[in-house]
């Protein structure tokens, strides 16, 4: 591509690329376009093999001129991946395996007939659905942050330019003053998607008010909440959109350098961002005097190294500076004194990805979506015990019921919904009584949880809420940076107290101790990691007091998860004396006489590994 060094050149490129992209999707000249999911989830499920196989067969059949094959970012419907989608018909094939490619090429590409058994089947109507937009999972979604993900090839600047990319950048550089950009973002009501929900425009205004030669915009791609993967998917699916958002931020408050901080566990995202930066530099969309407007901007990339606390903005800045990732006291806030002591705004990936949309369509349009105090859409990573695991972007104000049942397809195996955890390790759980609560920042806080980054993990009757609280506490203990004693030592004590509950040695005083210690940690911690550390405990105690009581008073785990409080028992009436369980028990603690006497588990030796219950063909073993 030649250099894009004026607004006019950019406009020409946008027009040419848009036409090429639209023609491709519309199948102009009898051409077909195939896209295959190249998100981390589908890559792990072999989507690269699918692309190789497609290209090979298309070549063999002499179709290369007529059919293009591209990888794209995450489709969101991860539990049905990998996906292969064909334009212009808009046919979506799901759970495609390498062996299916031959049929797609022969029956569809050549024969012109849809391969019926690769289509999504609606679980309630049992009807086959060929088009993506007709699938329930997608119907209520609205893609703003995920714009272009699963449609454009993230490795090509042309594809981005062909799908709204850099229109917003052109607009701000040629038509708007920095203050107008800030005002527009303020008017849109956009709040940070990284957790705290701070108004983005206000943050930019603080930084804009600082007089300094050097300022920084930092994109927080640390995505520490285990179970959330929207930031990764955005970076993988449309890195250009995030860079564009970053540049607009830089223009708005006067930053010439932008830093991406991405966790090292996301190699695909890192590679795509790196490539996008290179391609933009090559045509002059990054560097000095962009589009000849006098605006200069450079993007840099730094990797995380496996510390959750580095998602906290001041710890993140320390990490970029090559130090231990420990939070700094605030004030001074980063907007006043941030990276290398200069005014800095830290923004989440999703926040920045939304910015170009706001500039393109206007604050007013954006503010029409959502609730009064939470505007726009939010991407959630639905995970855990839910049928449609994946990424969904819905308007703020969507209810949990819509999210879990209409979009998420409900709970697998006919099990009962128990809770949904939002806000990750800083958040809390919501239960069946909250199902009709519209999701927005303030409602979630009022219910004792928080939005967080958008991780939403569903739990069913088989999950023990005390165990879940303990899981989060182990995580927090591992990840506390150690700077504050209440957080470093207090969370360890919390974990010990929880452990006494799960192993049956707790007393009623333990519950009181938990609560008072939780309060101390909240008051005595420097950063939000410590301040919110006890939230998962407090929230589960509030919502499931009966589970805590069963553990403490009756020494029983109602969900049969806590090993010390449950046992595996063989029902002699159901046991067919086949000995299969005994032969598989790793500690040989099941005794009986094959064919003669029912088998019995020696409880004193059983390590509760659960092997026997899986092996018994007659379901004669149960948990008690």
């Amino acid at each position: 591509m030649e250099r894009i060094d004026s607004p006019k050149k950019l406009q020409q490129n946008i027009e040419a690329c848009t036409k090429a992209f639209e023609d491709k999707i519309a199948g102009k000249g009898g051409r077909r376009a195939i896209v295959v999911c190249g998100g981390t989830g589908c890559l792990a499920n072999g989507s690269n093999d699918l692309i190789a196989e497609l290209k090979k067969l298309i070549e063999e059949r002499g179709l290369s001129e007529k059919v293009s094959v591209n990888h794209v970012g995450c489709f969101g419907f991860c539990s049905q991946g990998p996906f292969v989608k064909i334009f212009p018909e808009d046919t979506l094939y799901r759970m495609v395996k390498k062996d299916d490619i031959k049929r797609i090429v022969e029956e569809d590409l050549i024969g012109g007939k849809v391969v019926e058994d690769l289509l999504y089947v609606d679980p309630t109507t049992h009807e086959k659905v060929a088009r993506q937009d007709d699938i329930n999972f997608y119907k209520r979604q609205r893609r703003i942050a995920l714009h272009g993900c699963s449609l454009i090839n993230p490795d090509y600047l042309e594809e981005s330019l062909g799908y709204d990319g850099f229109k917003a950048l052109k607009k701000v550089l040629t038509e708007m003053t920095p203050q107008q950009v800030i005002d527009e973002v303020l008017a849109s009501g956009l709040r940070g998607r990284g957790g705290a929900g701070f108004p983005t425009g206000r943050k930019w205004q603080f930084a804009a008010n600082q007089v300094s030669e050097q300022k920084y915009i930092v994109c927080n791609g640390d995505e520490g909440d285990p179970g959330a993967f929207m930031d990764r998917s955005i970076l993988e699916g449309n890195p250009f959109e995030v860079i564009e958002g970053m540049m607009i931020a830089g223009y708005a408050f006067g930053a010439k350098d932008g830093y991406f901080y991405i966790r090292a566990e996301y190699p695909v995202a890192v590679e795509r961002v790196q490539r996008a930066i290179k391609d933009m530099e090559a045509v002059g969309l990054l560097g000095d005097n962009i589009l000849g407007t006098g605006f200069s901007f450079r993007a840099h990339l730094r990797l995380g190294a496996g510390a959750f606390v580095c998602g906290e903005e001041t710890a993140l800045l320390n990490s970029i500076e090559g130090k231990r990732g420990m939070p700094r006291p605030r004030p001074p806030f980063p907007a006043i004194k941030g990276l290398w002591g200069k005014p800095t705004c830290v923004n989440n990936v999703e926040t920045l990805a939304i910015v170009p949309y706001i500039i393109r369509v206007g604050a007013e349009e954006f503010a029409k979506i959502g609730t009064e105090k939470s505007k726009g859409t939010k991407v959630f990573a639905l995970g855990g015990k839910i049928n449609n695991v994946g990424l969904v972007e819905v308007p703020m104000g969507t209810t949990l019921r819509e999210l879990i049942y209409d979009i998420g397809g409900g709970i697998p195996g006919g099990k009962k919904f128990k809770a949904i955890q939002t806000g990750g390790p800083s958040g809390g759980c919501l239960t069946a009584k909250d199902l009709d609560t519209p999701i927005d920042y303030d409602n979630l806080v009022a219910k004792g949880s928080m939005m967080g980054s958008g991780g939403a993990i569903v739990m069913d009757e088989d999950n023990c809420m005390v165990d879940v609280a303990k899981f989060y506490m182990e995580f927090i203990c591992d990840e506390s940076c150690g700077k504050c004693t209440p957080c470093r030592v207090g969370t360890k004590r919390l974990l010990e107290l929880l452990t006494t509950i799960t192993n049956g040695t707790a007393t009623e005083k333990t519950l009181e101790d938990l609560k008072s210690l939780a309060e101390t940690i909240k008051l005595g911690s420097l950063c939000a990691l410590g301040q919110t550390a006890a939230n998962p405990i407090l929230s589960t105690m509030n919502n499931f007091p009966e589970e805590y009581e069963a553990h403490v008073k009756d020494k029983k785990c109602p969900s049969h998860v806590c090993k010390k409080l449950m046992s595996y028992v063989i029902d002699p009436a159901k046991c067919k004396k086949c000995s299969l369980c005994a032969r598989n028990c790793p500690v040989n603690c099941i005794h009986g006489v094959p064919g003669k006497e029912p088998f019995v588990i020696d409880q004193s030796k059983c390590i509760k590994c659960g092997t026997c219950i899986i092996k018994c063909p007659f379901h004669a073993i149960e948990k008690r």
Partner: protein
């Protein structure tokens, strides 16, 4: 421990490649970790010589981040995801099974230097929970009874080499 000459040379080269960048320590350490698999004290001393950053500070950084390791890891690093989405789908029983069969605890390496077991927090494959990552290859929906087969896959690979 004696560090081989080539390694020292390699480390110096990595340091040189980041000259001029602001605060390059994290990037230098990432590169070393990726290339050599660990960052022992001797290597930290070389980095100190090259960058002028005190060893104490480098050691502080190396030991702070989970991604950096001061001891060598096994040839195959088994990362069992204990992220929330995997945990609620019982990935604890998967890591327990790996530990039981390999007779090591999470964070440890088998005596033959072949396997290291690590508990990792979300590898972004939550739809495939419970997920296990071995040297970059992701195993989807692993249940305890699949663990032995996975280990044997690598044992067979070793035997054939």
């Amino acid at each position: 421990m004696k560090i081989r000459k080539e390694v020292i040379k390699g480390v110096r080269e990595i340091c040189a490649s980041h000259k001029g960048e602001p605060s390059p320590l994290m990037m230098i350490l990432s590169d070393i970790q990726n290339k050599y698999g660990y960052i022992p004290l001797e290597v930290q001393e070389v980095v100190s010589e090259e960058t002028g950053i005190p060893v104490a500070e480098i050691y502080g950084v190396v030991t702070f981040y989970a991604f950096f390791s001061v001891t060598p890891k096994g040839k195959y690093v088994i990362g069992v995801c204990l992220g929330t989405a995997c945990y609620v789908k019982n990935s604890q029983s998967v890591i327990d099974k790996f530990c039981q069969l390999l007779k090591i605890a999470p964070g440890q390496t088998t005596e033959d230097g072949l396997f290291t077991i690590e508990a990792v927090r979300c590898i972004g494959a939550c739809a495939l929970a419970p997920a296990v990552n071995i040297n970059g290859k992701v195993y989807p929906m692993v249940s305890p009874d699949k663990v032995e087969g996975i280990i044997n896959e690598y044992r067979a690979l070793e035997a054939s080499n």
